[in-house]
Each structure stands twice: as C-alpha cells, then as structure tokens.
Symmetry: C2
Subunit: 1001 residues, 2 copies
C-alpha cells in the first residue's frame, strides 16, 4: 500500500500524457483537436526548463547498469550493460561485450518506468559524497514518506553496498592461462568459489578507484568531462513492494568501485523489487539507462526541478519514439547503429526560443570566419579574381605546410608518386614517338617535376596534380607532322604557340573569365571525368593486349616436338651477288664497302642476336622466330594480379579481420603493397618482362637540342604571329581541362576548408606553359584521375568515439607537402633508376586500370548507367530515384551516353584537336536539356549537392511540410544546379551573390 | 462537438490501456502489481474471441492506402502505399514503388488511431455489394449518430466516389515512348491536363475491374484467397471535424476500381478531415494499414464483435510493439525486412486455450504421417535396422523418381558429373600408377558408373555420391607393393580381401552396428570434413604447382637472343662404337640388330621428336630442351580463372543486376559456365595444355587381365583366410568414411523429409565391394565433398511471396534421378571423349579448388578458426559466442586444429593405412573433452542443432524465462550433443527414444 498516494496506481490521471492533452486543455471541436500537434503541457514544461540559454552544455553521460546477482547467501552487483550512446550488453554466458546496438525497448517497460518515477523517491541535487551516505539519505527519505518499513533499513543498505563486479576485457594470453586453472572445474559453477572469500562487512565498496578501474582502457572511449549515471536493479526476498529511487547529486562524485571506469557519478537509479520479476526490473533498468543517454532527456534530467519535469521528459521521449510493429520485426534482432542519427540540436531546437535565427546561422556558416557583409561589385575588375584568390589563400599558406606532416601523407605520396612516374614515362614515351624524340622521357620527367612542384607550391588548389594529357599529346603529334611537312622548325614554332597560349591564359585570368565554369554542371563534369576514366581503362587494356602482339605466343607448340623449333640467323648467300648484294651495298655507306664486306664475311652468324642478324642483313629462319614464350602470359598475370590485388586490399578495410588500425593501414597502402607483391613475383620468376626504364643521364633525349629554345632565327617572321591561331585551340584545351578538373576537385562533398583558387590555378598553368615552351618541355595541365586519387588518399575521418557511432568524413588534408614531395621525388627518380628498373610495366598498367575503375566509383552518371541493368525493385535507394521518374532518369543518362560516345569517336580520330571545343559543346547540350527536362527533375539529377546533404535537406523539408500540413511536394526542389565560384574573399558565401559579383570590405 | 460522447475526447478513461490495468482491476499492493504481467482486460477480451478454435484460418489481407489528391477543383484518390506483409510506398516524384520495408510508425499516430476508432463509426458485418451503397450506409449511420451534419451528405459521397488512380508499373519501352509526348511539357505540371477530362458524374468508379487491374502482375504476389482492406485518407475543405469510419463487410466484395488488383474488399477504413493536417491523416492511415496486415490484429478484425474488441486489438498490438529511442535512430531510414519475423502462431498461442498441447505437437511432427506408439524393443534385432530402413524408404521410392524432373536437376547433374568424371580420371590415373595399371582409368570409369548408379538406385540415401577416396588409394598402393614383394598374385589377393571386407560390412549391417555414429558429434564430423576439404584444396594446388615442374619456364630467355635457343637431336656418334654403341645395341632386341642399325643410320635425326630421339639413343642438345614455353602460365591462368570465375558467378545471386530468376540461373550454372568460358579461352589460344583424356576403347587397361577375377588358383590356400586381417582395416576405413559422410549429408539443417538409411547404405557398399572385387574394379565409398556439393545444388527455397519476405530454405530435392543420370553419363563418357578432350585439366583442378573451398563454408569449425583473427568487437553474432566464453571456444578450436594436424601428418606418411583407426581416435578425443569442458559449453559448441534453430530456441527460452521471471540462464542449455539415428519406421521420432530403440507397430 502506498498510503500517501491513494489514487496513484493507475498512471494516466496523475500525469499529462502526450496524446491525452484534452484533459488539461478543454477543446471545442472534439476529434480535430486530437489530431492537431498542439503543444502538450509536457512540451510546455520542457520549453520552460530547456528554453533558458545555458552558457555550458551538459556533460556527456556514461550509463552503467548493474544487476544484483545471488550466489547462495552471497550477493554482488554485476555489470550487465552500458551505454555511451548505444547499448552494449554483457553476454551472459559469453562473458564478453556484445556489439553496440540500438536499444530496443518495450513500450510496457517505458510505462512502468514512468509509474516508478511517479511513485518512487526522487531526490534532486542531493549533496552526497559517498555511496553509503547517499544510500542512507535515500532510505531515510523513503521511510519518511512511508514507502518503506523502517525495519528493512539495515537489510536494504546491506544489499545496496555489495561489491560491484565489472565486465573487463582480459587480454587473450591471460585468458588462455586461466584455462589451465579452470580445467579441473568443468561443471560451470566454479566461478562462485572465489567469491565466497569476499568479506561480509556492511560495505564492500572502496572509496578509491581500484586498479581494474584505472587500467580499464574503455575510458578512452568516454569524453573527458563525462559524468556517470548508475542504474542498479535487482530482486530481493525481503521486499514486498519495489524500492525505487532516482537521485541526482549536487556534485558529480567518484563513488569508489561502482562504475567500471573512474568517472564521477551524477545520477543514481535504484530499483529493488520482490523476487520473481527480474526480467521486468531489467527492462525498466534498460529503459531508464536509454533515457539517460538520450540527448534531450539527459538535459531534462540535469535541469529538472521536480518529479513532474522528469515525467514530462519521459512523455516527450515517448512522443518521439519510433514504433516497429511486432509482426514485422523480431525484438531479438540487435539493430546495428545507423550511419546517421537525428542531431540533438534539431530535437532540442523545438524547445528553444530563438530557434529560427539559429537555424539560419547554421545553414550559412559552413566554412571558417565571420563577417562578409559590405558593398558588392557586380562587374569583373581587372585581375580581381586573381587578387582575391591570393588574398584568400595567403593566410592558409603556413598551415599548408605544417598540416602535411602526417602518416597518411606517406601513403598518399607513394601512391601519387607511382601514378605520376608511370604517367611521365608513358606520355614521355608516346611524345618521344610522336615528335621524333624532340620531347622524350627525360623531358617528360624534368617537366613533370618542375611544373608539378611549382604548381603545388604556389597554385590556388595544391591538391591538383599536373600531368601531360591525351589531347595535348595529340596536338603535339599533329603540330610536329605539320612542321615537318611545311619545313617549319618545330621547336621554335612550338615555343611561339606556347607563348601566345600562355598570354591568352593570362588574359583569361585577368578578365575573370573563369566564371564560365558556372555552366559546368554535373552533366558536363561527370561526362568529362567518365571519359577520362574510360581512357585510363582503355589504355591500360590496350597496352596489355599490345603485350600479346609484342610477345606472340606460339600456340602450335607441341612439347614433344621441341626439336622442331629453332630460329637461326642465315647469312645472306654470298654466291648470288647479282641479285642479293646490290641493295645491301647501296644501303651501307659507300665509304667503307670493303671493310664492311669483310666484316660481314668474318661474322659467326649463328652467334648473332636477332637484332644484329637483321642489322647485318641476315635472315631469320625457323619456327620459333616469330614467337616469344611466356612473356605475354606473365605480363597478363602481373597486370591482372596487381589490379585485383589492389581492389581486394582496398576492400580489406571493411572485413572483420584484424584490428581496425591495421586494416586501415593495409587499405591505405594497398597499391604500394600490390606493386611490391607483384614485383616480387616477377623477380621470383626472373622472366624478362618489360620493365620501367628511367633515363639515367641528365641530358636532352635528342643530342641536337639543348635545354633552351631560342625564339628567333629559324622560322619566317609571320610564323611568330600566325602561331596565335593554333595557340587559341591550345588555350581552350588547357582552360577546359584545367577548370573541369578543378571543379571536380573543389566539389562540395570534399568539404574543403581552404576554398578554391580557379584564377590563381590558371595563372600558374599559363606561367608554367611559357617556361616549358622556352625549355622545350611538354605542357602541363590538371590530370583528373590522379587528382581525384590524390584527394581520396588524403581523406580524413573522425576517430570513432562512442562505440557504435559511425566515423564522420571530416574533409581532406589540404596541404602542399604531398604534392611537392611527389614531384621532387619524380625529379630525382632519374637517380632511383637502379630500384625502379625492377618494376615491370604490366604492374603499372594494372595500377592504371585500378585508378580508372576506382575513379568511376562515386560518379553519379555511372550509378545511373548501372540502373539500366537493375530491375526497379532491386535499385538502391538513391534520393533522385525517389523524386524523378525512372524513365526521365534513363533518358538523361542516354543523352549523356550518346554525348560520351561522340566524344570518344572524336578523340580517336584526327578531329581530336577540336576535342576541347567539343567539351564546350557539352555545355551547350546541357543547356538544351533545359527544354526537355523540367527544372525539378534537373535539380535532382544534375545539381552538385552531394547525395547525403540532399537527403538531409529532403528530410528537413519533409519535417517542415509535416508541420505545415502540406502534402504536395512536387513544387519544392533543391536550388538550381549552378556551381558557385567563390569570388569573394571568404569561403562563407551568401546565397544570393552572383558568380561574378565581388564583395569588398 | 460529439453530442453523444460528451466525455469521450480524452482517450484513456474510456478504454482499458494495457498498462493502466489497475483501474479495472483494483489491486492490493500498488506498484508491484504494475510490474506484473497480469492478464490485462484487453488480453482477456482477445482470448475470448481468438480462443475459439476455428476450422479455417482467416484469409491473408492485402491493404492498399489511397490518398485524396486535389488538382484545382478536381479530386482523385491516388494510391500512396500498399502492404502484404511489409510496406511499399509510392515515391512521390519517382512514380515508382519503394522497396518493401518495415513500417515505422509514431506512437502518436497509433494513439490517434485508437481515438478515431473510439469516436468514429464502426460498422461490422455490413451487407454491402457496391461502393456507393456502402458509402451511403456509412454516411447514414454518421448522421444518425449525430456525427455528421446532414447537409454534407452529398459532398461527402461525391468525394468518396472519386476515381482511384493506382501506381502501376509501366514496361520500360512504353515509358520511353511516353518521353516523346511529354518533351514539350517541361514544367512538371502537365500531368493534370489529361485528368481534367475526367467526368464530373457522382460516381467515377466502375463496377467491373478495369484492364489495368486485370493486367497488373502484382496479383501474383498476393495469395489466391486473399481479401483486400482499403484505407482512404484525405483532407477536404468542407468538413469541420474528421469523418472516420471502419467498415467490415459481411462478404468480401469486388468494389470496382478501388483496389489496384482484382481482389475482393473486406475492410474499409475512411478518414476524411478538415484541411491542413494531411500529414497526420496519412500517418493514421499508415497505422491502421499496418495493423490490418498484422497477423494478430487481422484476426481480431475478422472476429471483432464490437468497437471495444478492435480497441483491445490495438492495445494488445501496442503492448507488443518494439520501441526505438529517438536519439538512436533516424525515423527516415527505411528498415529492410528482417530475415525472420516472430511467427504468428507463437503470438496467437498466448490467446489459445489448448496452447501447450499444440506446441508439443508442432515440435514433434516435422515429418509426415501420424501414429508411432506401441511397444519398444531396446535390443538390436538381427537385420532390424536394415529391415526398418527398407520399410521406411520403400514408400518414397516412386517419388524418388518423379520428383527428380526439375530444371534444377540439370545444373546439379552437370556439376556433379564434372566432379565425378574428374575424380574418376584423377583417381584412375593415380591407381594406374600405384598398381602398374592393374586398375587404370578405364576400370575407374566403369567402376564409378556401376557402383554409383547401383547405389543411387537402391541405397538408403541416394544423395550420397560414391567415389574412390584417398585412404583407399593408399591402401591399394601398399597392397600392390606387398604382393609384388612377396610373390602373391595381387588381383586374387585383393579379391579375397574385398570379399572378407564385404562380409564384415554385412555383419555390421546385420548387427545394427551403425549405432556407433551416435558418438560422431560435430567435433568429429567437422574435423573429418575439414580434412577432406583441405585434401581437395591441397591436391588442386599441388597439381597446379606440378604443372610448373612439368612445363618448366625458361626464365633466362631474352627475346632478342631467340637465335641462341634451340634443341637439336644429335645422333649418337658413329665414330666411337666401342664406348657408345654397346649399351645401345644391348638395349635393342637382339633379333634384328642389323635392321635396327641400318634404320638408325638412315634416320634424319633432325626430324625426330623429343621422344623418338631419346628412344633411338640420340641426345638432346640446346638451351631450350629443358623448357616448355607458355603452358605452365596458361595452366595457371585457366586454373585460377576457373576458380575465381566460379566464385564470382556463385556470388552473383546476391548482386542487384538482372532479374532474380536470371541471377539464380547464373548462380546455379556457375561451375558449368566457368568451365565453358575457360575451355573457350583455351581453345582460343590453342595452346597444347594438358587435356582430359578419356579412354575410348572398352577394354581393361592392362591386356593381361580380363573383366573377371577368378578366386582360386594363383595363391596358396592360407592367403584366402589370412586376407581377413587386412580386410578388417579396409572395413573400418569404409565404415568410418561412409558413415561420417552419411551423418553430414543427413544433418538436420538439410531438412530431409525422407530420412536416412545408414544400414541400407552400408549394405549396398558391402555388396558393391564384393562385385567390384570380382570384376577387379576399385572399391567405392561415399565422397564427402562431392556429396555436399550434390546437396547444395539441390536445395529448394520458397518463391518469395510477400514483397520483402525472405525466401525460406525448404529442404533438398531428394530423389534418385540426378545421381543415376550422373553415373550413367560417367559410364557413357567413354563415348563422349571427342567432346571431353577439349577440357583442359587445369580447369578441372580449378573446379576441385572451388569444391574444397566451398565445402569449408558452413563448417562451424572453420568459422571458429576465423575468430582467431578477429578482434572480439568485430566478431559476428554467433549464438555460441553469446553463451560460451571466447577463451573456451578458442581452446576447443585449438584442440581440433591439433587433431587435424596429427591426422594430416598421418595421412601424408605410410601410417596412412591406420587413418580410419585415427578417426576412431578422434571420437575418443572428443569423449575426453567431456572432462575439460562443461556440458553447457559443449552443448553450445559441439551439438548439431543448426545455428538458426538454436537461436530460436534461445529466444523461446528467454521468453519463458521472462514469464517465469527467472534471471539466471547458465543452467539452461540445449539438449546434449548426440546424433539420433532414426531407427524407428517413422521420421517423427520421440525425444526419449534411445538411438538403438526400435518402435514396433
């Protein structure tokens, strides 16, 4: 019996329930009011106590639930679960922590908890310094209120002061040592024997933290200022009705061995009841523990003035809970923590008075720094963009260096270095072919090193990696052929084109022409980067197939007839001089015919190599001449092995094996490890596979050119002027290539803090172009795939704090160090030749293939392409699929595919030179799509808001809609799809500012 | 105002709430009663209506929710979600169905729904034949009750009779055709234009189902006898308070175009309210829809006598719901349907009166047929086991044939056929080596075909595949060496051993000795099958490495020096006859020395093949003689390619691409497709890789033996008797190998209906042994890996019915057809040689590797081995991890690893012959573990209850515990780990019957 609460037992009358609001608020129109989300009295109460703006947020709460265990006469408190944000349970038999999971509660236990708080003792701001004293106070209060018979005082306090046993993780070697001891006791009841020795004193709890507590590594997971809330539940024989107490201490106090970690306790919830209902008590304990770690309720608990406030907190919690129908979900399934939970701020903001203002503020200030007002200029100013770029980037300059020193940078450097060097060699080789070695591998290395390191040192976006690119290669080839055909000196002509182009770039910079990139939407951007990815993949595979042509396989070879296969060098028949010899002698310089002839005759023809044999006019006879054994297949194994090993190791991060850190390391260094592995395999087999050949001497590839191209003297004067025309093509090419890559790198989803510098980037590309032209080096421009790889290898994530919480993507390690080191390394690679020569080319092609494939991931266009192959019901839950009909999406994708196909065909023909113009055409096509698709559809498919943010916005809108009671959503859609170039000095950019509007202080 | 419900608005007083039970049941001890799960009045009500045992279960309900859409003046009902079991939502913008997901409701909407049902109109068993008439009745009732102003009658009925628009899937080609039409209207508001043409008549709903309805393929997903419940929610301007009606029709009636599929409607829920709260109405609609598809509530809805019953149903539902805390879960996440939901029976059983009896019945009667009582014999009877096996299997015999005709059988046949043929060839080749071709590939083929087909035709478990096995091979090898060394005729000796062994097997059958397998626990069983898997993997890799030895790679080869490599056959120097010629001539038969000599001299030595050259005494000179190009690497590519392609294709079932059926087909035929693919690749390259060589002539491999071994005459008489001793070894070997495989095949998790036949199996193995001995063929015994593969390829799953429901594993297609066809095909493979000769051996080794790796999956021991590498927090949620401390699990695993290592070493040495004895030792080791581990631990780690069932049992126990209020679970554990051999004639076997107890009718 509860004497002073005669009418209390049935709960709804005594407290306002979120739905039963009509009792307190008589309403006039019956059911309608029931359906209205009017402010309930619970919410009003909370608004009152939470509305006050506090200077300090409340500490994080760590909740531990201990259950009373009986072992004969002995009792002890055993930790059974704990919460930082999600629940971790002690597996009873397994003696281990479960995985963190979402606490699934029963509605029943929540209501029972509510009743407990209504009828039990609630002591707020108790001034307790030790557990015995607190317990004495609580019992005293209960006796005072007539809730407890005085004679039970001793017994209760004895029970509550029993020792606490915590679930601590033993290292495995200690555990294995334990096995020896426990082998003899195989009945499973042995664990009690040691506990029998425990003292029977009134107080088992020490005042100072035990060594176990101090040694517990779990403390690392708990924030520094955290406080504990302890939940004690159990059943005892002597009680006839439950003993319930909720205590908040005035000061968080270390209560000895009660908590598993030395964290001061602020809250204490005790539920002791008559025997037979342990399961119910347990569930109520879980309910209060879950409430204590709830962002909103913990605030309420800290600020509650009385019992009613706490109950209002529960009611508010109940109003927000998510209910799963019993027939559709098994309560025994442990739900993994979600990737994202509703933010506490949003939930609290309902109770905050100055809510609206805060919301706006949060939406705007994503970047650093405040301010930003002032008059705006809406006309481009001479070099205005460049000036602002420099002004914006300069403050970050020092941090660009010291932020680079991190272990992650090493893997990024290795990865990008290998990419750059492969690129340099590949393009070097191809350029050498195309220009008759006027620009060869040596020039490629020198140019890459110089241009790259200068760019990374001074440019606006040091994450961009410069490289030779395909279109430029084609341009050079056409230029060389033209020069040769028309008797124009190639190097001088090229110098002038370079100079003109550099000048044009600088003009573009000065006139802030980069504003054109606002027309580069996802459509153009993704089309371009898909194309580049395809080129990577295509080239890698082409090279691989080339190996099969270069090293033909003798498919008719029969092992038994090995005697039939040989290749002999047959000397040209000296007996038939009339027909055979004349062409020979004519080919050999006339000066020393006799010497040559005698030399030839003196030759031991069988000892000549293939090359020598052909050189001296011999002919190769035999079945095996055309074939090269093993190399093609070995190349294939190396190529495909490197690719798939890299892919596998990259995925290893998501496996269950090994500790997280090791897995991350393996994943970060996956490319490097695969390369090492397959270089090792290659060395093991010792086959003569094609190897990376790095020039060893620092000198131009062609002996008849120096390191400086003199601008005058070799061509007629009008060539100097006429070269402005081809320069225009180069400029468009450079501009498009550079700016699209920059747009991709500066995408919002990369969360860059230090902002972009389109004008500054282009400025340096122009300058470097002039320098390279003077030195006769290739021209350099941003390389899409390698730049994306650079960004990917520098991504930062939060270290997971609470168990079960997902690490958040924080941003990219923005710095100049990795880039600079990569290019310096590329430069000194000339001296690393002895090491690098062990790397087989197929391994590098494998890396290329991987880079191409990896950069396709995360491209929405590619995701949309995949949708063609998926039946609608298996398609992933992309946010655009929720808002745009599938056939419209397919149409959009088809248009993109057609555009890509056209570009691909152009790239493969002589028309490649107008390739940059075609990208401009892509922008035009996109503009035309405005007439085919509704703005609503385009906003979802083609804007640059990343998926996640969009989903969030979507949710936000839905919430708002819900409040407004508005059901049609078709007219609402995300902001139009335009990339904003930051033209004002601060990254936090107001929404209404146009792309070429300048703000001035 | 609700005139006749003046006090109704606040809900708790008017209806019993699951927790607030004290109002109706005054209790004496306050809070204690609150915590007790006493039967609430809601539950009592339900027990009353659900307790009656119905002859027929209620039909499945399909629920469709339609929302009122306003388009200017026009209104229409648009389908917005549907439920069979899980929710599918119409994505507003996407015009598509979402994936089925668990309906997450808000507690708020459930309470609001409760109020709606309390205050709205509830019409049960309305005799309606058409929608207009039903609506008229409902409106009439509301006006009668004073809930609705009479003047709104017209308006309401107009709204409720508007047309229903359903979300139907258009085929994609039609959708693409639509694009052309809609190109002109890019504003997104065009969709209304066509709707303007809709008639403004009072009733838009036709009486007959429309073509759209009839063409809707979704009907396939709905069970045949299903009925519909329609939920209509919307907001209208003219109402001042909500119009709520819940209607149950007396007869399910087709209501024209209301439902998207032609399913008769039984329930109708209407909620129309004043404008501004669409979101709330929607949520209430979702709540009632979710309730309608709840197993328990739908029963309540069918049987409810009045409003209060329905409300009791909601209260009961609320009592069971699972609550997710708002801070730990985002309500916008769509929860995927779980693998398993609580069964409706279990939930309903609470309300059933004869609950306990039913539960027991369900647990026992897994198989078919009733009866089974009667006296029991507890002593083995002569041939009793065999007799019962035959008696049990005979009724299934016809179905063993007609059940085999299924498309799945084809893939199983192909798969197993290729496995068998590879096995036959491999073991044939090895046996030929070991016995000097007394038993070669031909004997292997013939024996496999004969023994296998006989076994599959008559044995107790036709899913078992017979094959030669490793231990027998080793035995034969030792036997042959012994015979040769001691001058005993091998074939005759072997015949007698075989006969003795066959006799011993039959004695084992007659004495029901198979009871020994009850000691074969998971420990032994998994140890054995892991060993066999490892042997498969090891052999496959050994063969592959062998290829590198057989086809050595010339790693020093330099393509340029191709001229240096040749291999010439040099004739033995005729100038030095004294030293060279004498051994030569001695080797060549004396009969024709001159002819030979002249022949040799006449030879063109350069034209000889390697073999010929060596044969005629020539010597091979040259750098390339030792090497074989390409073949080793090509073999590796084929081997590894086949393996990984099979693995990839097998996993393809779980990808998102292509329709489910196609994916299943690809997955089922993965091995066949990989083989085809890599045979194709091999043909493409045309390399001379080692191919499958099938004998083409039907004759014994050795010419000096026939197809029958005569038992007498070649050996002394005592050999006939002495051979009983080695026969004993063979018997143990055969017995262990056969029975362990049979135990694995008959595992409970395979859900076999037709029961096992251990005695019958062994009987046939014995008989076949005698036959094979007489014919001089190898002996055959159950092959573990191939048998498991056979079972895996015949697994049946339910066709998913409700969207989102997981397919359930139903069992295995138990029949004799696949096995028989496989072995018949093996027999006629002799004639398939022209086709089979294209299959390269490395491809088959790849298949072997796959089979070994695949059979490791699903072995708990292997899962436990993997735990060593996983940090505790990343380990999967295995049920034994919840109950047994990790260090005990690791210890158990370590013991198994040590045992395996010992077995492996034994297998690799001469001691291999006592291998079967060692498996007996394994049983002993397991017995000893009883002294090291507690029975509790062993029950979890070592019993044969499959994971899933155990989890269920675990849950069941927890439930019970909860009811009993018992908190300590350590003393409860699953039944002891003993395999029960079905010895009684019926598969449904009583729990208390011992393994060798016979039941008799």
């Amino acid at each position: 019996m509860i004497p002073n609460h005669p009418t209390a037992p049935s709960f709804p009358p005594s407290g306002p329930f979120p739905v039963g609001t009509e009792r307190d608020h008589p309403v006039s129109h019956g059911i309608k009011a029931l359906l209205s989300p009017a402010v309930s009295p619970a919410a009003e109460r909370l608004r009152y106590i939470l509305g006050e703006d506090d200077e300090l947020p409340n500490p994080t709460l760590f909740t531990e639930m201990d259950t009373l265990q009986h072992d004969g006469d002995e009792m002890e408190w055993k930790e059974s679960a704990r919460w930082i944000k999600f629940e971790e349970k002690v597996e009873e038999g397994g003696e281990r922590w479960s995985k963190p999971h979402v606490s699934t509660l029963s509605l029943h236990s929540l209501f029972e908890l509510r009743t407990c708080l209504q009828t039990g003792t609630v002591l707020l701001d108790l001034d307790g310094y030790s557990l015995p004293q607190i317990i004495e106070d609580v019992i005293e209060k209960q006796i005072e209120d007539g809730l407890l018979k005085p004679e039970l005082r001793e017994k209760l306090s004895y029970v509550l002061l029993r020792k606490h046993r915590h679930q601590t993780k033993k290292p495995i070697h200690r555990s294995l040592a334990d096995i020896g001891k426990s082998v003899s006791s195989n009945t499973g009841e042995s664990s009690g024997s040691s506990r029998r020795l425990v003292s029977r004193s009134m107080n088992d709890i020490s005042d100072t933290p035990s060594t176990d507590q101090l040694k517990n590594k779990f403390i690392k997971k708990i924030p520094k200022d955290a406080e504990a809330s302890n939940v004690l539940v159990g059943e005892v024989e002597f009680l006839e009705k439950p003993f319930v107490a909720f205590v908040r201490l005035l000061q968080a106090t270390m209560l000895g061995g009660v908590t598993e970690v030395p964290v001061p306790t602020r809250f204490l919830f005790i539920l002791l009841g008559p025997a037979g209902k342990a399961k119910s008590y347990n569930e109520i304990g879980r309910a209060i523990a879950t409430l204590m770690v709830d962002d909103l309720f913990s605030d309420v608990a800290y600020k509650a003035r009385d019992r009613e406030d706490l109950i209002a907190g529960i009611d508010e919690f109940l109003d927000e809970v998510i209910v799963l129908p019993p027939g559709e979900w098994d309560p025994n399934i442990r739900i993994e923590p979600p990737k994202k939970v509703p933010s506490a701020e949003k939930r609290k903001s309902v109770f905050s008075l100055n809510e609206v203002g805060q919301m706006n503020g949060a939406a705007g200030g994503a970047g650093a720094g405040g301010g930003g007002g002032g008059p705006r200029w809406c006309l481009p100013r001479f070099c205005g963009g460049l000036y602002l770029d420099i002004k914006r980037k300069l403050p970050w300059f020092p941090s660009d260096f010291y932020e680079g020193f991190h272990i992650q940078s090493i893997s990024a450097i290795l990865f990008i270095y290998l990419g750059c060097i492969t690129n340099a060699i590949t393009f070097g080789g191809l350029l050498g072919d195309a220009t008759d070695n006027y620009q060869g591998v040596m020039e490629s290395f020198l140019g890459t090193a110089m241009a790259g390191s200068m760019f990374c040192l001074f440019a606006g976006q040091p994450l961009i990696i410069l490289s030779s690119t395909g279109p430029i290669l084609i341009f050079e080839k056409l230029l060389f052929d033209f020069s040769k055909g028309n008797g124009i000196d190639y190097m001088e002509f090229r110098l002038w084109i370079g100079l003109h182009s550099a000048l044009q770039c600088l003009i573009l910079v000065a006139t802030d022409a980069s504003f054109i990139i606002k027309y580069i939407t996802r459509f153009t951007e993704e089309g371009f980067s898909t194309l580049i990815s395809f080129i990577f993949i295509y080239d890698a595979i082409k090279k691989m197939i080339g190996a099969f042509k270069y090293y033909p396989i003798n498919s008719d070879f029969k092992p038994d007839y090995v005697t039939m296969y040989k290749c002999e060098c047959i000397a040209p028949d000296p007996g038939e001089p009339s027909t055979q010899r004349i062409p020979d002698t004519s080919a050999i310089p006339r000066r020393a015919p006799t010497r040559c002839e005698s030399q030839r005759l003196a030759l031991d023809w069988t000892q000549l190599s293939k090359k020598e044999c052909l050189k001296y006019g011999g002919s190769l006879v035999g079945k095996s001449c055309k074939f090269v054994p093993d190399l093609a297949l070995m190349s294939f194994i190396l190529f495909f092995g490197t690719y798939s090993m890299t892919l596998t190791l990259k995925k290893f991060k998501f496996s269950r094996y090994f500790p997280t850190k090791l897995r991350k390391l393996i994943s970060d260094f996956s490319i490097f490890m695969s390369i090492l592995m397959f270089v090792g395999l290659d060395v093991l087999f010792g086959l003569n596979t094609p190897k990376l050949q790095v020039p060893t001497d620092f000198k131009p590839t062609r002996v008849d050119r120096g390191w400086f191209v003199f601008p005058f003297g070799k061509n007629p004067w009008w060539v100097y002027l006429a070269s402005a025309l081809p320069a225009l093509l180069v400029t468009i090419l450079i501009f498009m290539d550079q700016q699209i890559t920059a747009v991709i790198v500066n995408r919002k989803e990369h969360k860059l803090r230090k902002a972009a510098g389109y004008h500054l980037d282009l400025f340096w590309v122009g300058i470097l172009m002039a320098v390279c032209s003077f030195m006769g080096l290739p021209w350099y421009v941003a390389a899409t795939v390698i730049s994306i790889a650079h960004i990917d290898s520098l991504k930062m994530e939060t270290e997971t704090s609470a168990p079960g919480e997902q690490p958040q993507f924080l941003g990219v390690r923005e710095q100049r160090v990795t880039g600079i080191i990569v290019f310096v390394l590329t430069g000194i690679s000339v001296f690393l030749a002895p090491i690098l020569k062990y790397i087989p080319m197929p391994v590098l092609y494998g890396v290329f293939l991987y880079m191409g494939v990896a950069s396709l991931n995360g491209i929405q266009f590619w995701d949309r392409c995949k949708l063609f192959l998926m039946p609608a019901k298996h398609q992933p839950d992309y946010v655009f699929l929720r808002h745009v009909p599938l056939r419209r999406i397919h149409l959009f994708t088809l248009v993109q595919i057609v555009c890509l196909a056209v570009l691909w065909i152009l790239k493969s023909t002589v028309a490649a030179i107008i390739f940059p113009v075609m990208i401009l055409a892509l922008i035009l096509v996109r503009r035309l799509l405005d007439f085919v698709f509704s703005q609503h559809d385009l906003a979802w498919i083609d804007n640059i808001i990343p998926e996640k943010e969009k989903k969030k916005e979507d949710d936000k809108k839905k919430k708002k809609k819900g409040n407004k009671g508005d059901s049609s959503s078709d007219e609402e859609f995300p902001p139009p799809s335009v990339i904003k170039i930051p033209m004002e000095p601060l990254p936090a950019q107001p929404r209404n500012g146009g792309p070429h509007c300048l703000s001035r202080k």
